[in-house]
């Protein structure tokens, strides 16, 4: 059985997912939906055997099993609502972050509770072999009790960008880039709460280009504290880099997209590059984690199981981002 799938939004991520879905054996890529007339005109000529449509309503009646939403973040809420209310599909994958604000994310979570179906958000680092290895090490208790972590997410995307560059459509550095490391920390440690936060505008007066915030574990027995650093104006990060340093009662672990380093208090140390961790896929485009992510989502639909990170899980990421903004706002008011 093949899952019939459509992709909404033909930007970079839409094309990436459309490509991956096209090579998966258990997927039939049925339609692409794009509002730009120019992109649609060429899309129809370039990609054969797939309908290219302008409006979501045209996806009705195609018998779709799933829709991928890869449009700019502010459009996620209305598009996902339309997919459910028009009965276009029961199963939805959306590129991260889920929506523009915590209120919108809550609305989407309430909607999916009534809808059922499989839903998933593109926090693809969970499908990277190094972060999976780190999660396994933590779950096995090798570090024993984690006491502190530092998470970072850096890129040079807007380094040297002119004032007024279009950062707003990406929702700020935490929503766009830092959300990955927040998701990983929540996956590793469970619920967290923001204690203090600092956001900086480097490109425009209302842009959020650099962020630093401290968190503490909540709702569990852990006496865990942590901090996050995120910037898209860093020098030397041609590709975005996400990583964590984790201190436990039995040693320290460093993990990034390339490797996992483990140093234990008994003097033993271990290093795994992604080469050592079976980083193989059947088709490589963009990075190995994208194919694994799409295989997992489609597999969940066909097997009738849940997919993670779901909308509910992504809601927790948005909750942290919302807390950062509120803490920052509170401290700004106090300063005034």
């Amino acid at each position: 059985m093949k899952a019939k799938v459509a992709v909404v939004g033909l930007g970079k991520m839409g094309l990436l997912h459309a490509s991956i879905l096209s090579v998966l054996d258990d997927v039939e890529l049925v339609a692409l939906c794009e509002k730009s007339t120019l992109v649609r005109r060429f899309g129809k000529r370039i990609i054969q055997g797939v309908s290219v449509v302008a409006d979501l309503a045209e996806l009705c009646g195609m018998g779709l099993d799933a829709v991928y939403v890869t449009t700019p973040v502010p459009s996620h809420l209305p598009i996902i609502k339309a997919i459910y209310t028009k009965g276009i599909a029961h199963n939805v994958f959306v590129e991260k972050p889920l929506a523009s604000s915590y209120a919108e994310v809550e609305e989407l979570c309430n909607l999916t509770r009534n809808q059922g179906g499989v839903n998933m958000v593109g926090y693809n680092r969970r499908f990277s072999v190094t972060f999976r290895k780190a999660k396994q090490i933590l779950d096995e208790g090798t570090l024993q009790e984690p006491s502190f972590f530092e998470g970072y997410a850096y890129s040079s995307d807007f380094l040297g960008a002119k004032m007024g560059s279009k950062t707003s459509s990406r929702g700020g550095v935490i929503s766009d880039l830092g959300c990955h490391v927040v998701d990983l920390a929540l996956w590793f440690f469970g619920q967290l709460e923001v204690e203090s936060a600092k956001l900086e505008s480097l490109i425009g007066s209302d842009s959020e280009d650099s962020a630093y915030f401290k968190v503490r574990a909540s709702g569990g027995p852990l006496a865990l504290g942590g901090e996050f650093k995120s910037s898209w104006c860093m020098e030397g990060y041609r590709l975005p880099e996400i990583g964590l340093l984790i201190k436990g009662s039995n040693g320290t672990m460093k993990v990034d997209e390339d490797k996992v380093e483990l140093k234990l208090d008994d003097g033993s140390s271990f290093l795994w590059h992604k080469h050592d961790l079976g980083d193989d896929v059947s088709f490589f485009i963009g990075g190995t984690e994208y194919l694994r992510e799409d295989e997992f989502f489609i597999g969940s639909i066909l097997n009738g199981s849940n997919a993670e990170p779901s909308f509910q899980t992504a809601c927790k990421v948005e909750e942290i981002i919302d807390q950062v903004k509120r803490v920052k706002e509170k401290s700004r008011r106090n300063e005034q």
Partner: protein, 299 residues
């Protein structure tokens, strides 16, 4: 190994790329991004056995070409140019607010390039919604950038489509793109080429579409570890055994620094139908040792 293998200097270190680790790329320092230093490394490689330079077309590599072009004519490399420079395109798309913004920027650059063939093809492409004309327009534009930097006497051996374009086109069954690029490049007397991370899949698709491999350059990762060889080392080796007519150039032979050069060579020396190797170097003594050894073992 009787046939002479083409030895190429790769440009990844000049762009700050290490697939082993970002940390390693950063630790190499800024010297590598400096065109004079990078041009010295290319020259050193040529003196020690390299035949050419394989690079993505970017401001950095064009600057390197400008420096090399001033050298002696006999010491000019065969150029294997990869387009587009995907990283810069993604960054441009980010700054321009998406794919339509990127298309506008590129259209402006072509319009202001003064290359009439590129402009005419571009207009034909836009007016007639003809993607093949747009591809030709873009390739002409990149070729003119190359010639203006490397000089008219430069040996432009091949223009390869970047892996992002190749692999997306493979996945989306865009056989027209491969046919258009091959036909157009052969008309221009330049070898058509494709860089891919999905070598076995490309070979399967070319066979399915009836595309002739003769004279086509294919650049793909091959290494003893099977690192980035999709779907597996075995499948890529089987596909390579079938492609005697293509000019297959392998890269990532060191599995991004995970393997030592002698063990990397030990693997590639036994590959059938291998026509060339591209390796990046980051220091002068690396350039000497690497190409001396490759020359000794592969020729």
């Amino acid at each position: 190994m009787n046939s002479k293998k083409l030895l190429l200097v790769g440009d990844n270190p000049f762009h700050g790329i290490s697939h082993l680790s970002q940390e390693r790329a950063t630790s190499r320092g800024n010297d590598l991004a400096h065109p004079n230093y990078a041009a010295d490394l290319v020259r050193k490689s040529l003196e020690n056995g390299a035949d050419g330079f394989m690079f993505t077309v970017s401001e950095t590599t064009l600057s390197i070409l400008r420096i090399i072009s001033k050298g002696e004519e006999h010491n000019r490399p065969q150029l294997y140019a990869i387009v587009p420079y995907a990283y810069e395109f993604v960054r441009l798309a980010v700054l321009a607010g998406g794919v339509p913004g990127l298309a506008m920027k590129l259209a402006q650059q072509i319009a202001f390039s003064g290359n009439w063939k590129a402009i005419v093809n571009g207009l034909r492409g836009v007016i007639g919604t003809d993607p093949a004309s747009l591809l030709r327009s873009y390739i002409l534009y990149e070729a003119s950038r190359l010639k203006s930097s490397a000089g008219k006497k430069a040996a432009l051996a091949s223009i390869l489509l970047h892996e992002v374009v190749t692999d997306m086109a493979l996945a989306l069954n865009m056989d027209w793109l491969f046919r258009t690029h091959i036909e157009f490049m052969l008309d221009c007397r330049i070898k058509p080429g494709f860089e891919t991370r999905n070598f076995a899949y490309l070979v399967k698709k070319f066979e399915e579409w009836g595309i002739d491999f003769r004279g086509v350059v294919i650049a793909a990762p091959f290494n003893a570890l099977g690192f980035q060889m999709c779907p597996s080392r075995e499948e890529c080796e089987k596909a390579l055994a079938k492609t005697s007519e293509a000019e297959v150039i392998v890269f990532s032979i060191l599995a991004s620094g995970y393997l030592k050069l002698p063990e990397a060579i030990e693997y590639i020396v036994n590959l059938p139908n291998l026509k060339g190797v591209a390796v990046g170097v980051s220091k002068k003594h690396h350039a000497c040792e690497t190409f001396k050894l490759l020359k000794e073992k592969l020729r």
